[in-house]
Structures are given as structure tokens and as C-alpha cells.
Amino acid sequence: MFGLILRRLMASIPTLLAVVFLSFFLMRFAPGSPFDGERPLDPETRLALDAAYGLDQPIIVQFGRYITGLAHGDFGPSLVYRDFTVTDLIWTGLPVSLLIGALALLLAMAGGIAIGLAATLRPNGPLDCRLMLGMTLLTALPTFVTGPILALVFALWLGWLPVAGWGNGAPVYVVLPVLALTLPTMGAVAKLTRAGLAQIMTQDHIRAAQGRGISGWRLISRHALRPALLPVISYAGPAAAGLLTGAVVIETIFALPGLGRYFVQGALNRDYPLVMGVVTLYAALIVLFNLIADVLYGWLDPRVRG
């Protein structure tokens, strides 16, 4: 088990380095500069700014500095939010994004598995067909459409919840963003659970259990559920990645002060260090989630522990 974790950690290092490398060099070869404004700066100011941010050094030196900084948890200064370092911005944004993302992941998993189970109780029955059609629709609904529609219905028309904003994390502000983020992932989880269960139910050990007179809920919960959840667990990694991407849109729609907002602002303003920092962090989070999913998988399925 420990060996598995260690091996997976080692394997994730090249991926992370590739992300850092790619984002660094892409950003540096970009045309335009964060100091480009309405009027061109005079050359002296320009040189002084470049020197202050180390942009006058050879690119290899800049990359070396950046990597060294990263290893110390320093993402460099933000070029647009002048009084903040990228690390400051990440620390203010991360808790918001993590709260939203973690709630959405939990809800999606719990809801999706429950719906998948409900559908399997009577395979191909009317409930099953309707639920699965509904889930297919959910997975096809992009968050940037469901988000505004939820806000329109529950905030503007019904007036139950605030339209947008964070309100220091008061629960009423969290409901709509989390809901919008949950729906597509929940659909995918439900479909996977349903497919996994359907496949397991045809296997010998299930028939053996049925032969011993076990049926209904007990059969599913004690004999079928654990192996059927394996594909769901391995989906947790990609799901987390999808939630992070979805969070970028959701934070923009609901004006939440999360990482995704800084990312979009950084991308629109050419704030290189900010964009690089957030991409690196996202990559690290995705790698981490894949790792957790793999470890869970190994715990559920002894065959892959090795």
C-alpha cells in the first residue's frame, strides 16, 4: 500500500514539471506584456520595471528562479495586483474554491450513487429509464447555462437566495454555486454506478447469493455495491478536475472570490505569474485527487495493490 502511494507520487513529478515548464515558456513567448497600457511607457521606465521583476535576465535564469521559488512555496509577485504576491492571492482564493469544490464533490458522489442504486432496483423499469434519461441530460448541461438559469429562477424570480456574492461564506450564498457545480458530475456518477451495478449483477457470486435466497436491497448493499463502485472511484480523479474547471465559470457567474476568478482575471490581463501559479496549483490538485482515487481503488480492490 505504502509502495503504491510512493510510486504514484514519483510518477506525478514529471507531469507537474511538464505543466510548470509548459506554462512558463508559453507565457514568456507570448506577444504583449503586462506593462502594455493605453500609452507606451518610456524606455527608461520600461527597463526599470523589467529589472524590478527580473524580466531582463536570460530566460533560463528566470526559469531557474521560478522553480526555486516554487519549491519554497513562492509563486512570485503578481504583475497586475501590484501590492500582492501570487501566493497571497492564492491563499485568499483557495479556501473559497476548496469549500465549493469539496461540497460539490461530496454531493455529486452521494447523490449520484443513490440515484444509480435507485435505478438498479428495477432494471429497465420505468423509474430506471426516466432517471437515466434525466442523468444523460444533466451531464450534457454545461455549468455556464445551468448557473445563470438557477440564479434566474431561485434568486430573481422566487427570491429565495441571493443572486451572487460570497457574504463571507454564509450558507445561503453557497447553495446555488454548489448546486450548479454538482449537477453534471452527479449525472456522470449516477450513470457509472448504474452501469457498474448492471455489470456486477450478471456475475457468478451474485447468482450464488441469489441461490442462497438473498435478494433486493441486501443483495445490492452487501454483495454488489463494493465491486460496482470501482469505476466510480476511478472517476473521482477526472471528476475533481472537471469540478475545478467548472468552478472557474461558477466563480465568475456568482462573483465568488475564488481561485478561478483570479485565473480568468489573470488570463484577461496577461498577469503571467498569477496564471502560471494557478495552473500549477490546479495541476497539483488534480494529481493529488488522482492519487487519492488510486489509493482508494487499491483499498477496495486487493488485486491492484502490488
Binding site: M27, T245, I253
Partner: protein, 265 residues
Amino acid sequence: MRRLFNALPAMLVLLILVAAWLLPPFLPWDYRIIDWDHVSSPAFTPGHLLGTDNVGRDLLSRTLIGTRITTMVAIAAATVSLLIGTLWGALAGWCGGRIDNVMMRIVDALYALPFMFVVILLMVVFGRSILLVFIGIGAVEWLTMARVVRGQMLALRQRPFILASEAAGASPRFIIFRHALPNMAAVILAYLLLTVPQVVMVESFLSFLGLGVQEPMTSLGILVKEGADDMDVFPMALMVPGGVLVTLVICLTLLGERLRDRWTA
């Protein structure tokens, strides 16, 4: 009735495409023209079937043009992913051994990348031109295609007609393009169809954030964004492009899944 229901996705896609590509020239108002007399007017205003947006542009013609741009980007990007993915997968599957191993490890590593962020990074770096939107998307979306084609190639590699052709001295290029690829055309087509709705989503996502297609051009993503901005006074501006987008994505996904299940079973 059941057959009608089964044909529904294809018919809807066809309807949307035909409307988007043929209808705009016949509409009274161009998608860029501002009608100063009807700003933010509701549906069924004379000349504006679906009303106008907050600067007085016709919503129907904007939605149709947006659909056209979105589908164009989607088809182009899917083609890019088709080219890269097919070549990469065919080569890996044909060569086998160590080359295959390295090539597929690269695909695995790229799968682990937060790919939406890579696309955004590309947009930021190379400027927000429509050409780059689809090259960027296509360059990232080819991974699944590469895996599928490689799997097919590995299976075909052992089939007698391929071995016979090899024994007869045909060059690998000839075998791959004349024997192998035509044989898996159905599978490739099914996955191509599944790539299109994904690309539609990515393009709309980027445009929604302001990182994709730029004004005065428009796309479904931009229209959804604009609609979301003034949905409190004019919900139609959100519902119409959002509805078209969702219909397109759902129908294309259903079609693709059906073809995949039929042709790969």
C-alpha cells in the same frame, strides 16, 4: 412513434444546422446592425421574432450566426483532433514495442494535464483569434482518438489480410492508409461525432469567459454570457442561445453514443 423518437436527435441537429447556415440572409436584420427603435424589445416585435438584446441587435439572427460560428469551430477542431489522433494512434499501434510504449505514455501524461487550463493558456499566449481557438482545442482533444485508433490498430495488425499485404512487400504507409484506416473508418467516425459536442462545450466555455471568439463575431458561449448579464430584464436572451446549445450538445452526444455502440459492438 418509437421510430420517430429515435430519429429525433438527428432531426433536431439537422434543423439547427440548416437554420444556422441558410436562414440568416433572409432575416430582415443583420446580426451586427443596431435597431435604435427597438432596444431590449420582447419577442414578436415587428421584424424581431425573438426580440432584441440590450443594444438593439436582433436575437434570432445573433443566435443563428452564433450557432454557425460554434459549429464551424467545432467541426474544424474535431478535424484537427482527428488528424493528430489518427496518425498518432496508427503509428503507435503499427510500430508496437518500445515506440508504442513511449507514445502512449505521452498520451497518458497529457491526459493528466488540466486540459482546459492549457487551452486557456494557449489563448492567452497566442491571442484570441478564432483560428487558434480551434487549433488549440483540437490539439488537446486528440487524446481519446489516439487511444481508440491504437487499440484498433493493434487488433488489425494480426489480421491475415494485413499480414498478407506485408508479406507481399507493401510499405507500412500503404498498409496503414489503404488497408488499416479504411477498416476502422466506422469507429473513427463514431468517436469523431462524440468529439464534436465536447468541442462545442469547450468553445462555449472559452467564449463565455471572454477568452474565445471576439466581438463583433459571436458564438453561443458569448450569447449565453450576454444573456446571463441581463437575464433579470430579458430572460429570452439567456434561454434561446442556452437552449440551442444544450439541444445541440445532447443530440450530438446521443447520436455519437448510438453509433459507437452499434459500430464497435
